[in-house]
Amino acid sequence: MNTDHRPVYIDLRKIKLPVSALISITHRLSGIYVFFITLPLMLALIYFSTKSESSFNELSLFLRDHKFVLGLIVLSFSILWYHILSGVRHLIMDAHIGESLQAAKYSAIFTIFFWIITTCFVFWRIFL
């Protein structure tokens, strides 16, 4: 057990995360989401779209009429997209590129903005 009895300050509402730490924790959270929601959705989409021609047509009609389900699917894939973007950023940093404090900060901000813009664009193209 920990013998150090100094208080540990762990009030999550008051801790200010640097943006590079924010991208790290959201990469993990998005990974969990992708595993438990996007992957089964992906499997279901592949299953129904390759089963038979009538099943393929039923699926496309279903998604055209049920915008909520389509929205959930697009949202799930956009979270996978976020996981990919922040993952590529981590891979680049693993190659010792952009490891300085300033570079990490700007690449994190860039990643988040790039994700927001591309996601908004995809939602706009699909729903409007």
């Binding site: 920990n2 540990v8 762990i10 993990r28 990974g31 969990i32 992708v34 595993f35 438990f36 992957l39 089964p40 499997l43 592949i46 299953y47 779209s49 390759t50 089963k51 021609e53 393929f56 047509n57 996978l80 990919i84 993952g87 590529v88 891979l91 693993d94």
Partner: protein, 118 residues
């Protein structure tokens, strides 16, 4: 397994997943998506091989990732920040969590195999 092996497995599986997803999305985006085109693409022998590699690689990647998340957050120390009493059972929580996500991963593998070899 050595830590460095796990580190390299995590990164190389990530790159395999990335290329597969980019490839499939490029096909979906660039073609008129009819059943015939999609079916011919998905059940071509090269795609069967790639899909198989993809799902094995996804299972490896997500097992390592979720296992790391578990050993980071479902520990006596981390749960202890919330409640000392609950933190004493942290090892049990982590075991349950590991079993649950392993079963999920196993079922994904079974479903993907039945889709590929229908």
């Amino acid at each position: 397994m050595k830590g460095s092996t796990i580190w390299y497995l995590q990164r190389s599986s990530a790159i395999i997943n990335l290329f597969y997803i980019v490839y499939v999305f490029y096909f979906i985006y660039s073609s008129e998506l009819t059943f015939e085109a999609w079916n011919n693409f998905f059940y071509s022998s090269i795609m069967i091989f790639l899909t198989l590699c993809f799902f094995v690689s996804v299972i490896i990647h997500s097992f390592i990732g979720l296992w790391i998340v578990g050993t980071d957050y479902l520990t006596r120390r981390t749960i202890g920040f919330l409640s000392y009493r609950i933190s004493k059972h942290a090892d049990i929580f982590r075991s349950i969590y590991t079993v649950v996500f392993s079963l999920f991963g196993l079922s994904y593998l079974v479903v993907s195999l039945t889709i590929i070899f229908k």
